[in-house]
């Protein structure tokens, strides 16, 4: 077997610059987990359905299992590890998930944290129905979603002032 050709790609992850050489077929999810050892991003279905692998690219949530790492030349990527607050503690969404008991096994959680972090940027006070819609692309097999919906609303409060 011939060794696979490597392709060079440079991007930032959580603000840190990376210059990698990876096979072209390396999914971003695998580049993050295996090449960069950022194992916060979880991989469930690997075909775009479950949402566990969601990361932010230039601020917008995307499925890291549906994009090749080499395609993200020049991008700014944020993973769940980058959703902390400025002091390095839990960010507003993480704090709300803890307070509201919005996770059980935690497998789906990184995808929710990233998705909700981006959502709150332009939705400062979501209703329960809006919160439900915001997380409709993420699957959770444990919680039954009720506490996650509560956490989305609580995270908005923490982030946008009341009760921080």
């Amino acid at each position: 077997m011939t060794t696979e050709a490597l392709v060079r790609v440079a991007f930032t992850v959580n603000g840190a610059p990376y210059d990698l050489e990876v096979p072209a077929r390396r999914l971003l999810s695998d580049a993050l987990r295996h090449d960069l050892r950022l194992t916060g991003t979880h991989v469930g279905c690997e075909h775009g359905v479950c949402g566990a692998c969601t990361v932010l690219v230039d601020g917008a949530p995307i499925r890291s299992c549906l994009v090749f790492a080499v395609s993200l030349e020049g991008a700014a990527i944020t993973t769940v590890e980058g959703c902390r607050n400025a002091e390095g503690g839990m960010g507003p969404v993480q704090q709300a998930f803890q307070e509201c008991h919005a996770l059980q096994c935690g497998f789906c959680t990184p995808g929710f944290i990233t998705t909700v972090t981006a959502y709150l940027e332009d939705h400062p006070a979501p209703t329960a129905a809006e919160a439900r819609e915001a997380i409709s692309g993420n699957l959770c097999r444990c919680t039954g979603y009720q506490n996650i919906v509560a956490a989305v609303q609580r995270a908005a409060e923490i982030k946008w002032g009341e009760g921080a």
């Binding site: 072209a24 030349e73 409709s136």
Partner: protein, 294 residues
């Protein structure tokens, strides 16, 4: 669940991309948003030898509104087209269709032009193009050609795109004045492909009576099925005769059974959803802005 190896190309201009695609021929495939291609490759249902990544060609990342309609460049993401206020103003059916395409996260990466080329018979945007009319602009080393919406969708997962060609943009026509549109569909789960979906476009006269009414249906034929349902409009022009509507639809659609629904159920959905979409479209058809102002 990992794609097989391929050679990767990252052109920076359309010219460079077209040269590459011309040289690669059948071996080369365009990578746009990857929201259909990457899962197919991960499941090993597709194993292209070469991918030409068009995501780094700035000239393709455009949404432009003209007198004729909305021209969407190849790398404009679904989300961008959906949120574009001028595009919504010119052809509301774009946004009405797009909010039914998968989840917001998929729409952040998937492209509208990619969805047209992919030509999934359950996809919303091919129906939107088929109903509004318009064209897809294809470029190759041999030059440019413009394929009309009616000729672009050839069969399930098959468009008129030939090996070596890049779809650079699609133009969706602006509907006539005093038109209204709507897109309704039913899916098993929020964000899934629809069991059946209907786009409707209704145009009215100065008194609000329907003058033309057409629908485009998805998931009930090999390509989006466009049906002129003008004959189902009541004499008064204010409502639709559901029985006549069902007859017109049945003559045009050919639903198939699969694990999600029987053919009969899809046929039922076509009738119900078309009536709903037409009523909603009629409600949206109002006087033009100039007429309202005068």
């Amino acid at each position: 669940m990992k794609p097989s190896p391929f050679s990767y190309h990252r052109p920076r201009t359309v010219e460079e991309a077209v040269e590459l695609l011309g040289a690669l021929g059948e071996e080369g495939k365009v990578l746009a948003g990857g929201q259909s291609l990457v899962p197919l490759m991960s499941m090993r249902l597709a194993a292209p030898a070469h991918l030409v990544d068009v995501n780094h060609i700035p000239e393709l990342d455009t949404v432009a509104v003209t007198a004729a309609g909305v021209r969407v460049g190849a790398t404009a993401r679904h989300a961008r087209v959906e949120k574009d206020a001028a595009a919504y103003d010119a052809a509301p059916l774009l946004r009405q269709g797009l909010v039914n395409v998968a989840h917001p996260t998929i729409r952040n990466r998937g492209t509208t032009v990619g969805s047209l080329v992919h030509a999934d018979p359950s996809a919303e945007m091919p129906a939107v193009l088929a109903l509004l009319g318009g064209s897809v602009e294809l470029r190759s080393t041999a030059g440019s050609r413009e394929v009309a919406a009616a000729d672009f969708f050839v069969g399930p997962m098959e468009s008129a795109l030939r090996p070596g060609e890049l779809a650079v943009a699609a133009t969706f026509h602006r509907p006539p004045p005093r038109s209204g549109s709507a897109f309704v569909e039913l899916a098993r789960r929020h964000g899934d492909y629809a069991l059946c979906g209907v786009a409707a476009l209704v145009t009215t006269d100065h008194d609000g009576a329907v003058t033309t009414a057409r629908v485009a249906l998805i998931s009930v034929g090999p390509v989006p099925v466009v049906v002129d349902v003008g004959a189902a409009v009541h004499g008064t022009g204010t409502a639709f005769d559901t029985e006549r509507l069902a007859g017109l639809l049945d003559a045009a659609i050919d639903p198939e059974a699969d694990i999600h629904a029987t053919a009969e159920y899809r046929r039922h959905l076509a009738h119900v959803l078309a009536a709903r979409a037409l009523t909603e479209a009629h409600e949206h058809a109002g006087p033009t802005r100039d007429e309202r102002a005068s």
